[in-house]
């Protein structure tokens, strides 16, 4: 199965959902560490994506000027 392409928006939605679940206490302690791990992994990926995007945009504009 091909790996699904990373979607920034989906990741952010997921992170915020996890945060909400942790905050509201809807999350089982059983799943807590798993979900926290997932959230921090997603945050890392988002940061990476942001950094890449910024670099790309900067290089596009450098090409333009």
């Amino acid at each position: 199965m091909a790996k699904k392409e990373f979607s920034f928006n989906e990741a952010v939605v997921k992170i915020e959902e996890i945060l909400h679940n942790i905050e509201s206490g809807e999350l089982d302690v059983d799943k807590l560490s798993e979900q926290v791990k997932l959230a921090s992994e997603l945050i890392k990926q988002c940061q990476k994506k942001l950094k890449l995007t910024e670099e790309e945009i900067n290089s596009i504009f450098n090409d333009l000027s």
Binding site: I15, E23, S40, C46, Q47
Partner: protein, 457 residues
């Protein structure tokens, strides 16, 4: 009469019947200036169909008069005397025995020509309007980036040079691709030249964004070649926008009117095109900045979102965990407390049960004891009385037995019936003619059954 005599007679007759000057309307079909400065013309009048000639005459403007009339006409009518023009001229009739009839032009009324041209022009405009084509070139979309320009002009025209200088040396350093389609820009060749140039451009239409028709410099006057139906019609049908810069100061020619954009001079056309590109360039730069800013804003917003999520994750998890821990220790407390309570209660219950049990046991035992004491007393007395009773009952029984002994029973009148030594308790077994023995207290008899058992009702 000799030929000369005849000619002179005609001349005299003419002079007598048409003396002096006459204002005549006519169209110039040919005009030539000779070395001496005399102007020779051919005047015609066409049939109403504008094709066939109805009449023709030779006319002359002598040089002395022509010098004045030429500039007077040009200044007033805005164009030189040329063929195709309708004129109102004041003529003297001259008849020469060698050259025949000539009209000697002494004066000319430019207002008539102007009026006639205006009428013709108006007719062309009306026709284009009626055909619904007048606005067609104007309706084309102007290219965003007019960079490839087809130029219709005369190679030697000052206007063409002006245009090229301007467009090549534009202050922004933009590069334009230009191609010249050479055409006459005045005179009779103008119509053919421009239409032919348009056709050549049309053949390579994909190479161009725009057509410009430029002229200028030199004579600013002769606009009338552009008041031409065919040129105007071709422009209206052309698939690219046409900009004109044919050098007019006052009125627009029909060509200008149907063009996408009429401008006054070739230089103005060049400036306009450069300006279009510059505007797009500026807009592009603005958009670049806009995109740059917007994308940074978007990035910043998302970075904040992620950062705040990252900052919240750990504390929230801690809070969640410590919350859970608290709940858990609360539960332990509860459990301990409840357990103690339970145990205490249980202990209480147990001890009370024990004492109860003890009490109950005591009571029970006491009860049992007294009961057994009582019972043993009872037993003794009961035994005694029972023994007495037993004695009595035995005696009664002895009596009963005595009473019930067969001898006594027989003595009281009962008998015992038997068949073959077997005592009968029911008459059912007896059949007729069977022999039965009947025992009395004092002996027995044999008898025969004469009737079977009659059951009690």
């Amino acid at each position: 009469m000799t030929l000369t005599e005849l000619q002179l007679t005609i001349r005299d007759a003419l002079y007598v019947s048409l003396p002096g000057m006459h204002w005549v309307t006519a169209e110039i079909s040919e005009i030539n200036e000779n070395y001496a400065g005399h102007c020779y013309l051919e005047l015609i009048e066409k049939q109403p169909d504008e094709k066939n000639i109805r009449s023709r005459a030779r006319a002359i403007i002598w040089s002395s008069r022509y010098r004045f009339l030429k500039s007077f006409f040009e200044n007033t009518a805005g164009q030189p005397l040329r063929n195709g023009l309708k004129v109102l001229v004041k003529v003297k009739i001259e008849y020469h025995e060698i050259y025949g009839l000539s009209l000697i032009i002494n004066d000319i009324d430019p207002a008539f020509t102007v009026g006639d041209m205006a009428l013709k022009r108006q007719a062309i405009i009306s026709r284009l309007m009626e055909e619904g084509v007048f606005e067609m070139n104007k309706e084309l979309e102007f290219p965003l980036f007019p960079q490839r320009i087809a130029i219709i002009s005369s190679r030697n025209a000052a206007g063409y040079t002006d245009f090229m200088n301007h467009i090549v040396k534009n202050g922004y350093g933009y590069v334009f691709y230009t191609a010249l389609f050479d055409s006459a820009m005045q005179g009779q060749e103008t119509e053919y030249g421009i239409i032919n140039a348009l056709d050549r451009i049309a053949a390579e239409i994909s190479l161009f964004d725009l057509v410009v028709i430029i002229r200028g410099g030199g004579s600013q006057t002769d606009l009338s070649w552009f008041d031409n139906y065919n040129i105007a019609y071709h422009i209206t049908q052309f698939p690219l926008p046409v900009i004109t810069g044919i050098g007019h100061e006052k009125d627009l020619s029909v060509t200008d009117m149907v063009a996408h954009l009429p401008l006054k001079t070739p230089t103005a056309v060049a400036d306009y095109i450069i300006d279009c590109v510059a505007q797009v360039d500026v807009r592009l730069n603005e958009m670049t900045t806009e995109i740059k800013n917007l994308s940074h804003t978007i990035l910043e917003k998302n970075r904040n979102r992620i950062e705040s999520a990252g900052l919240r994750l750990l504390p929230l998890t801690r809070i969640r965990l410590s919350g859970t821990r608290e709940t858990l220790s609360g539960m332990i407390m509860d459990l301990t407390n409840n357990g103690k309570k339970y145990i205490y209660k249980a202990a209480m219950e147990q001890s009370s049960l024990g004492s109860k049990l003890r009490m109950a046991a005591k009571t029970y035992l006491a009860g049992k004891l007294s009961a057994s004491e009582r019972l043993s007393g009872d037993l003794r007395s009961l035994t005694n009385s029972s023994l007495k009773d037993k004695n009595n009952s035995i005696k009664t029984l002895e009596n009963s037995l005595r009473i019930l002994s067969p001898e006594k029973v027989l003595a009281r009148g009962y008998t015992i019936t038997s068949v073959n030594g077997k005592i009968l308790r029911s008459g059912e077994e007896l059949k007729e003619n069977e022999m039965i023995d009947t025992l009395f207290s004092d002996g027995s008899i044999k008898s025969r059954v004469t009737q079977g058992l009659q059951k009690k009702k």
